[in-house]
């Protein structure tokens, strides 16, 4: 079994123009981790994850990623998707199959079953033909998570998956994340703000602040 780290950052620097957000940071993310990225606003949590995914260029150091031969799945904040697009929940979940099907191939029977399974697992059956723009924030976020899960990627990266959700949807989303890690054995990295919720889910957190980036036990950071 592949035991190499999912992400290794060595002396990585990321800047927006002259504004250095991450300065020569080192980080090793072990495979199979359930790891929230915590820290104050503007510390660079999202920037760090986006740099690891290649969404933002880094100016120095090196980032070595081993996602296990399959692209990772990225879940943006639901508000990043323009609700004007005429796509249904099902269409969006099927989007996750693009790496397998490319431009033209239609879904085969196995993929149809996989889509059905994921939609059922996330409780999206009654909404699957609804327009994405008509859904509540919680259902939109669930749809994006379902799209990530249908890819069967071993690594999931989520950018503030509970942002803008009410308390019930937030709790629901966090349970889904834990379930994906425990039952699915996936590496799940996500940006989060509330330490009390992190403490209930994970053993370790990735602390991002002015002093740099480091992995720490939840209890240590909570204190």
């Amino acid at each position: 079994m592949n035991e190499r780290p999912v992400i290794q950052c060595r002396g990585v620097t990321v800047a927006y123009g002259r504004d250095v957000v991450l300065n020569r940071i080192d980080l090793t993310v072990p495979r199979g981790a359930l790891l929230p990225f915590v820290g104050p606003n503007g510390a660079g949590k999202t920037t760090l994850l986006k740099a690891c995914l290649g969404l933002i260029p880094h100016q120095g150091g090196e980032i070595i990623c081993d996602f296990g031969g399959r692209p990772p799945a990225y879940v943006p904040q639901q508000k990043q998707l323009d609700p004007i697009y005429p796509v249904s929940v099902r269409d969006l979940v099927c989007m996750g199959l693009y790496p397998e099907n490319g431009c033209w191939r239609r879904l085969d029977r196995g993929q149809h079953e996989r889509v059905e399974g994921v939609i059922a697992r996330f409780g999206l059956e009654p909404h699957q033909h609804k327009h994405f723009g008509e859904l509540s924030g919680g259902l939109r976020q669930k749809t994006l998570l379902a799209r990530a899960v249908v890819t069967q990627a071993g690594v999931l990266v989520l950018d503030e998956p509970t942002a803008g959700l009410d308390a019930a949807s937030e709790a629901d989303m966090l349970l889904l994340i834990r379930d994906l890690h425990e039952a699915g054995g996936k590496t799940v990295l996500w940006v989060h703000h509330r330490m009390d919720q992190c403490a209930a889910l994970a053993r370790q957190v990735c602390r991002v602040d002015k002093r740099g980036v480091r992995l720490a036990d939840v209890s240590e950071v909570a204190e």
Binding site: L53, L55, Y74, V75, P76, D82, D91, C103
Partner: protein, 277 residues
């Protein structure tokens, strides 16, 4: 005379107008769906004006109209596809400047050339009635392959526009798909500008697809409906202009705008009624 007799007589008298109008409406209305979805309406009018400026250049310096409009449109497309960081200015400002520069340059070029007001009007507003067989070929050769490529690569284009970051992580080359779309849009606008004029092209790229988006819920349905509405509005506009002795292009534009307003009103009523239930 009956409506049908008028339609037959108009088609016999102006076959190129009907053909050019049909091709232009189908192609621009299909592309326009992404123009509206991607919220780049301002880009489409800047491109239309750039194409008009290219036409003015061609008119003054006596070279091919398609080459003129394609040249200036390609320059604007290149400017638009530059990464934001290298532009050092908000994209809206760049677009606004392009629009103003292209509009004023078109008028100044034609005014300096000794051509009259009629040429300026013809360029800005276009006139489908005077479309030539050459215009028809230009439209067919630029529009139909572009439309075919748009439909062929609909999936990656949609995904790139819908969720660029997730698409990139999935392995899509987003810059390639965005570049292809803008290149094809530039080609379509260049090809359509001489017959359609900046205003009709802009109308077909924005007003017609916006109407279709109010009526249909799935992407394929929106594209199909947009093409159908574009073609029907163009035919209806041409026929109305023929019967009432009006300029064709403004009549088509007026009809498309009225249709959008009517559909928007009906949709608002329908949504309110559903909400109350």
């Amino acid at each position: 005379m009956s409506l049908l007799q008028d339609a037959v007589s108009f088609t016999g008298l102006f076959p190129e107008a009907v053909l050019c109008g049909t091709v232009m409406a189908a192609v621009c209305s299909a592309f326009g769906v992404f123009v509206v979805l991607k919220r780049i309406v301002f880009i489409s009018i800047a491109l239309s004006e750039a194409a008009t400026c290219g036409l003015a250049l061609a008119l003054v310096f006596h070279f091919s109209a398609l080459a003129g409009s394609a040249l200036v449109t390609a320059a604007v497309v290149f400017l638009l596809t530059l990464p934001d960081k290298r532009q050092r200015m908000p994209k809206d400002v760049v677009l606004g400047t392009v629009f103003l520069l292209a509009s004023s340059a078109s008028v100044l070029l034609v005014a300096q050339s000794g051509f009259g007001l009629e040429e300026i009007k013809a360029m800005l507003y276009g006139d489908l009635i005077v479309s030539s067989p050459h215009d028809r070929w230009v439209l067919l050769l630029t529009g139909l392959p572009s439309l075919a490529l748009l439909l062929l690569f609909l999936r990656p284009l949609l995904y790139t526009f819908l969720d660029r970051e997730a698409s990139f992580v999935m392995g899509l080359r987003c810059w390639l798909w965005e570049g292809l779309f803008f290149f094809l849009l530039g080609l379509v606008v260049s090809g359509a500008s001489k017959s359609g004029g900046a205003l009709l092209v802009f109308c077909l790229l924005v007003v017609v697809p916006a109407t279709a988006l109010l009526l249909a819920r799935r992407l394929w349905a929106v594209i199909g409906l947009s093409v159908a509405l574009g073609v029907l509005t163009t035919w209806a506009g041409l026929l109305a202009a023929y019967r009432a002795d009006l300029p064709a292009n403004p009549t088509i534009i007026g009809m498309a705008c009225l249709l959008l307003m009517g559909v928007a009103l009906l949709r608002a009523r329908h949504d309110r009624a559903r909400h109350e239930r």
